[in-house]
Symmetry: C2
Subunit: 223 residues, 2 copies
Amino acid sequence: MTLSSMSFVLSEMSTAAVEASEVLYGGLAADVRLLVDVAIRTRVDAERVAAARDLVRQAEQILAEDASPEAAGIHFNTEGRSWNWGNAVVGVRNAIAPPVVLRWVDDRTVRSEVDLGAAYEGPPGCVHGGVSALLLDHLMGECGSAAHTRLIVTGSLTLRYLRPLPLGRIHMQAQISREDDRKVTVTAHLGSDDHGDKPAVEATGLFIVPRWAREGAVSGSLD
Amino acid sequence: MTLSSMSFVLSEMSTAAVEASEVLYGGLAADVRLLVDVAIRTRVDAERVAAARDLVRQAEQILAEDASPEAAGIHFNTEGRSWNWGNAVVGVRNAIAPPVVLRWVDDRTVRSEVDLGAAYEGPPGCVHGGVSALLLDHLMGECGSAAHTRLIVTGSLTLRYLRPLPLGRIHMQAQISREDDRKVTVTAHLGSDDHGDKPAVEATGLFIVPRWAREGAVSGSLD
């Protein structure tokens, strides 16, 4: 499989229709997120588990009555709006995604805060080291795209784990630290209020502008 | 928060009871995984979304009738069985986890195959680069624990992204490449059958045996 600008689908959906759809299906995903969390923590007996499973399967059947066989992909419209509803980090329709909401400080710096519950655990009571990698990879990819003015792919990513990160409110930041022709270097860190200013994880990423994407910018980074 | 051997909870649960519990609550999580997937792909109308949300909320309420306020943590019993049901990669009760099942080739090499669907998407139709990082971090951490004979934490992790990885069947392998006092170096790769032997992502990780864990081994790595 080769990625190209063809992988990004031009849609006739208006921005207003996109936003209405995000409210409708995003609300569903929000409910499913709560279910994912309580399914880990529940201690109810077998009879009640069976009753809950029956309801979950009924819901699944209703939703499967008309469903795309494909993953969500990345779409954009002529108004410059793009959407990647299934994305594992920011997808509003994806219950695996917290979802992360990005806050652009300027066109070279992006921040985010997110609450991570029981579903993101690795060490006891702590965020999985790989989840920190997942979030930072995404944040850094978005950052490297310079507010979606160019398309990039991840070349390499180095993570340094400095201290355990308790589950709960996490904050993170990424900034472009160097640009050299088709190579963009992004640095980032992630931590919790428990540690004050000390990050739990630091990262450096090298991102590449693919040759085919060098001329025309597509809204949305590849991550 | 500091991790220590105290973070791992000795349980009185027998291995047979642990396995029965995994069947019960693992079945629930399997149903929730299908729901996560179809919630991304569904195209049903607002009325049917509302009906599905009502069922999901009913299921959530049943499960919340008796639920721990805590994340799942890592437990072990006197029979040497350990379980981390909420783990973001291998947790059988966690619908975010595919879940990955590890296959030990020998005590220095571990492999796994996993099917990744719409919920793990990054670039259109492809596995999110951060999901590859999540899976490799976990696999490498387990590998570095030398089949759970020592407890380790991730020091650093470097990932090299070589080519896009389509959603679908993924295979991965990690092996210990060096051991030096409290430092363990693990290398790994991940790919799909589409690429034959060519990996999509290569990784090198440096794992550390914490001073407090040097003397007594605890079953289960920190990742």
